[in-house]
Symmetry: C2
């Protein structure tokens, strides 16, 4: 038996307890919880076969009462001595995609991001579309290319056309970008015809992850009318390995900055689902942005209520993400196209002037949120390195 | 032992042999093949456990050589006497969703449809966007709401805004529509970074189904800028129960009508993947349209080549659909918004003037294609009935 040591000030203390899927050299994938810099094997700690599964889906499908009960059991278990074979130093395990993705929807919930992209993609027009303040605009992304943090991101090829060119050309993207986002994972789904009300959010959503929605801006700009982004986004979307349970974000819940005009009744709720999460974006190890999630216009509860108001069903493992998190200040922008204003205002990264991503670049997004008693709740990181295009 | 009787002129003769998933009163879901009006249970006919699965996915994942071999074995088996317990009259079985959908992408490959919708959604502007003749425009739809033919379609609620209104209102869609499409099912997938060339289509695509992409035009018109359709489409997409193998469509392959300008090299191939499939749309039992698939501008091989040219991976069960099939003539339009010109030119259905769908309406889409020796290859039908909105 052994006690888990938690470093002072760790954002992975007993008030966080995020879930992930890991493997060791000699074992198959199974569910673990992160405590400090230790991964506790839940299949051994709680002796429950649902945690011997290679994804979180079977556990998430059990619903919110079970999530609360398991959280309590984990919290008790880690206080006392624990069987030694259930514990692994973080650096000795391999972390995997924590859940199998059902559908993936990406929203566009930051007013600052939407307005910046409007100015860049549609200069001279009203930066926000007329619908933007009435509904959380979103679209379906490719769930089959949602990948675990650490997966290499191959530079995509595709059609690009500068306004000055007469016809599109084919080749590797020249404007490869990131989008720093929070993603929300549906645990308990809903059937066709059922709506999930804004105040029923926590009955359905299991937790949150960090998302990097890699974006090829040149492909996107050419292809996106009138049916939205496709190949500019579908080549890879990375998620962090630890799913932070909603219960760990209780102290991060804040009111939204304000919605004018008031949204339609189905988007109004009694509970606050703004989230005071601080993101950080590191480009080759240098911090270039600090996007504040608390500035988001639409809450994740509104996103889910909107997504299902037409009767669309949801499934365990559905992922919906916020869209780029950008604050009002320049250093709070969560995409490089905004940070460098379409490439016209380079940023300095490790002494070099940079605009879009180059082969070999690594981007890591991290985040923390307030926990009880001045503690912090960590999300860990979502990271990826750009690999050269495959040209043949 | 028993012989299978095939009615004269049946479009389900030995040159078709489409695969589906069925159950009987006393049995679980398993894979069958349709021969005339009989369903042959392949788990008994070929004594292969892959056909005892509740979806076609395990069989489809085995790849094209195995598909060809199984087709030969089925063709031989149905010539001779067959164990009686392997055969079920079609009207005594229940047909299910034939495959588990991975990602669902919907294209926009009919020039006539795209131009008609451009005129209706963006009057006064060029009906085709500048990108339309350069790439097959498409977007991801909701795979979790792809349903089997026969599933009731609940009228979706959502935000609508007429141009004359100052703000959007909430309520049931007033412009519920259909889109008659062909869908293509990926059997053998591809990994991240791999491209599927236009001439490798048949190595990856298992077969084709009919698709009805139910569409709420009022929701769609308000929400779709700038990220594309979402709730206007995500409430239900119906597919036909029989997956027609690509091999059964050999005699339907024709050149495309013509592409000007010539597409970029990655969209050019040596093989013809235009398809001479005749669709029919019945509204409450009255035929209102005959969309000709042979008029489509982009081929399904081009759609798949485009979808993967950025390195996006594909999975067994991925579904990609053509978008509405519309020909140049009015009676060849595959969506009611085109057929009735935005509701301004009603059609007569069973003696009544009709524009968009009313509660209780049933739409059935059927199709056939040429087979060898003057025979026809049947797709069966995709049907659905509109159920009233759930307003609470």
């Amino acid at each position: 038996m052994s006690r888990i040591a938690i470093p002072d000030g760790s954002p992975f203390g007993p008030d966080n307890l995020p879930y992930g899927v890991f493997s060791t050299k000699d074992g198959s994938r199974r569910v673990g919880v992160r405590v400090g810099d230790t991964v506790a094997d839940l299949s051994l700690l709680l002796l429950d076969p649902v945690f011997a599964a290679p994804t979180l889906n079977p556990f998430m499908a059990q619903g919110p009462r079970r999530w609360a009960e398991a959280r309590e059991r984990v919290r008790s278990a880690i206080e006392g001595p624990v069987p030694k074979q259930a514990l692994h130093p973080l650096q000795e395990v391999r972390l995997h995609m924590p859940f199998q993705v059902g559908d993936y929807v990406d929203f566009y919930a930051s007013e600052h991001h939407a307005a910046n992209l409007g100015r860049l993609f549609r200069p001279g027009q009203d930066p926000l579309m007329p619908n933007w303040r009435h509904l959380p605009v979103g679209y379906h992304g490719r769930s089959g290319t949602v990948v675990a943090s650490g997966t290499g991101v191959i530079r995509p090829c595709g059609q690009r056309k500068d306004p000055a060119e007469a016809a599109p050309t084919f080749g590797p993207s020249r404007r490869l970008d990131i989008e720093a986002e929070l993603g929300f994972v549906v645990g308990a789904g809903s059937v066709l015809g059922e709506r999930i009300g804004v105040d029923d959010f926590a009955d359905h959503v299991f937790g949150a992850v960090l998302v990097n929605d890699w974006s090829a801006r040149d492909l996107q700009a050419w292809e996106y009318v009138p049916l939205g982004p496709h190949l500019g986004k579908s080549f890879a979307t990375s998620v962090s390995p630890w799913v932070v349970p909603l219960a760990a974000l209780e102290h991060a819940r804040v009111p939204l900055p304000g919605q004018i005009p008031a949204p339609l009744p189905y988007l109004r709720g009694a509970e606050d689902w703004g989230l005071d999460v601080d993101l950080e974006v590191e480009w080759n190890g240098e911090r270039v942005s600090r996007p504040p999630y608390r500035e988001m216009y639409w809450s994740p509860a509104q996103m889910l209520a909107h997504l299902t108001v037409n009767g669309a069903s949801t499934r365990t493992g559905d992922l919906f993400a916020s869209g780029t998190v950008s604050g009002p200040a320049k250093h709070q922008r969560g995409a490089f196209i905004e940070l460098t204003w379409g490439g016209s205002e380079p940023v300095t990264v490790k002494g070099e002037e940079r605009t879009f991503l180059e082969d070999g670049d690594t981007v890591a997004i991290t985040a923390t949120a307030p926990g009880p008693g001045g503690s912090r709740i960590g999300f860990g990181e979502v990271a990826g390195t750009v690999l050269p295009a495959v040209e043949s």
